[in-house]
């Protein structure tokens, strides 16, 4: 226990205490004298952004899951060796690229006159003079998926690689299509890994400030931008903390699943 104390004390002082402090700050009495004043103000001003945030993060999580399964599935079941090799080399590039860099990439890539529109114009698919950029909710989703899908794919592909291949070969010999093998045989076995990857992605995206700030900081925007705005413009910690507690609530279900899984794994170790 003595070996653990310094690390535990660090987590306690720098995470658990400030987290409890944010909850206490959210319920502190406002000028109206009731404990829910900050929540009232947060909901009044930012209920639209709450829905916006939840939709963006849930939608991105679903897209990340679908892409990760597709990538990992093709790496495991693909019939074209050169395409499998190319995919394995390609998909990991965004893995450790920081969000702030991804945001800068997308800010110029997805702009009205960015490379994406210019390329589509050159190919002849759109006319760039009449096209619009994607720097709104779509840009945020694209940046999130671009950055997080490789991470989820890496974890899921790792889990698939450690599975027993005899079952896959048996199903193949019986004539099952690759889609069925992916859905009926691989997915149930890698589900815990996929869930962990998606929960971590969900929580991460709920906390990223740079991407919404740099891609679409105007209204409607994400709760992280609103919290930073309350602090930097008004020094309004009450409303910011209320928004923080609401974002804890959004992740509560995901957090519960993750903690239960983590503690069970750790105890079995």
């Amino acid at each position: 226990m003595a070996l653990l104390t310094p690390a535990l004390a660090t987590v306690l002082a720098l995470f658990i205490y400030p987290m409890l402090r944010s909850v206490a700050g959210a319920f502190a009495e406002g000028d109206r004298g009731d404990a829910y004043a900050h929540f009232g103000k947060a909901i009044e001003l930012y209920s639209g952004d709450m829905v916006f945030t939840l939709l963006i993060v849930s939608g991105s999580t679903l897209a990340i899951g679908a892409l990760a399964l597709t990538i990992a599935g093709y790496l495991t079941l693909g019939n074209t060796p050169w395409a499998v090799a190319a995919l394995r080399w390609l998909y990991r590039w965004p893995l450790f690229i920081p969000f702030v860099v991804a945001a800068q990439c997308m800010r110029t890539f997805l702009a009205k006159n960015g490379i994406l529109n210019n390329t589509l114009d050159t190919v002849g698919l759109i006319d760039v003079a009449n096209a619009s950029g994607l720097l709104d909710w779509r840009g945020i989703v694209i940046a999130f998926v671009w950055k997080q899908a490789p991470f989820a794919a890496l974890l899921v592909a790792g889990a698939m690689a450690s599975l027993d291949r005899s079952m896959i070969d048996a199903a193949r010999n019986l004539g099952a299509s690759r889609f069925r093998i992916l859905y009926d045989i691989l997915l149930p076995q890698v589900r815990p890994t996929l869930v962990v990857a998606l929960v971590l992605s969900f929580v991460t995206m709920m906390s990223v400030l740079s991407v919404p700030l740099m891609i679409s900081g105007h209204s409607p925007t994400m709760l992280t931008v609103d919290m930073a705005f309350r602090i930097n413009s008004y020094g309004d910690y009450g409303t910011a903390n209320a928004l923080g507690v609401i974002s804890y609530l959004f992740t509560a279900v995901a957090a519960w699943a993750y903690l239960r899984h983590g503690i069970r794994e750790g105890s079995a170790r």
């Binding site: 310094p6 690390a7 987590v11 944010s22 450790f96 990439c105 110029t108 974890l155 929580v203 992280t224």
Partner: protein, 277 residues
């Protein structure tokens, strides 16, 4: 025989083309946004509706890498913070990881809960409160303050990676050394630690990278007194200077891509799959 395989190859052609097209589209989706940074970093003039910069040059690179430039100062700030963070994190994570892997303990679930919590909830509202506390302690805008925030950020992963590394060390070797009369500390220093070194090194690199890339915590605790590279990138981009922003982004890209290329040499997929689970 030849004719047969020839016609089969021909029948496969549309499929092969389809696969090639999909791989090409993926390559564009990944390298398109990245190539953008390169174009912007060399663009001296780029006006709508030009598809490529009208004038190219090294003007901005020269400005960024001037020894007195903001970027060099930010680079040193970031690297110093990252190195101190690695030291602090390892000093905390090596004993903790060893204890989690080896020692039987009561309250194990509660200990694990504490180490898992920072990954399970969004940390931006936490950073806001850390910044408020640090402000009253005079730690806001100081290196020490930012190092503390980055240490927490890296600690969770560092504990898991080192714990997995110590867990993989053969226990009989430690017992044999004990039987030959070595003290527990000596066993740890001469047997367990060297054998777990690759995992410890991996977690050091990981923490370094996390610290170098960290934005949100530095934004609340460090700015505006301390400008790390991600904050410099953000400020340049917010100010509309896409050249400086792109060059800073490219500097941050180098360690990320290097780590991506070698990550599997340090961490096997099965260890990687256990990280953060």
């Amino acid at each position: 025989m030849n004719a047969l395989s020839g016609s089969r190859g021909l029948a496969r052609l549309p499929r092969t083309l389809g696969v090639a097209l999909a791989v090409g589209a993926l390559a564009f989706a990944i390298f398109g946004p990245l190539s953008n940074l390169l174009l912007w970093s060399f663009a001296e003039q780029w006006y709508f509706p030009q598809k490529l910069p009208g004038q190219w040059g090294f003007k901005w690179w020269e400005r960024v890498f001037r020894p007195t430039g903001d970027a060099m100062e930010s680079l040193w700030t970031s690297v110093t913070i990252a190195l101190v963070t690695v030291g602090t994190c390892l000093a905390l994570a090596i004993p903790a990881g060893y204890a989690l892997a080896r020692r039987p303990m009561r309250w194990r679930a509660l200990v694990m809960l504490a180490f898992l919590l920072p990954q399970a909830f969004p940390n931006l509202p936490v950073y806001i409160n850390v910044a408020q506390v640090f402000y009253s302690l005079g730690l806001n805008g100081t290196m020490a303050g930012v190092v503390l925030v980055h240490t927490l950020h890296g600690l969770v992963l560092a504990v898991w990676i080192t714990s997995a590394a110590f867990g993989a060390v053969d226990r009989d070797l430690e017992l044999a050394a004990r039987n030959l009369g070595a003290s527990p500390l000596r066993v740890f220093m001469t047997v367990s630690l060297p054998l777990a070194a690759p995992g410890v090194l991996a977690s050091a690199i990981f923490v370094f990278l996390e610290s170098l890339d960290e934005f949100t915590g530095s934004f609340f605790v460090g700015a505006p007194d301390l400008t790390t590279l991600p904050l410099l990138l953000f400020n340049a981009s917010a100010g509309g200077n896409y050249q400086i922003a792109s060059i800073t982004a490219l500097i941050l890209l180098v360690p990320s891509v290097l780590f991506m290329l070698v990550v599997e040499r340090f961490l096997r997929a099965d260890v990687l799959a256990r990280v953060g689970t």
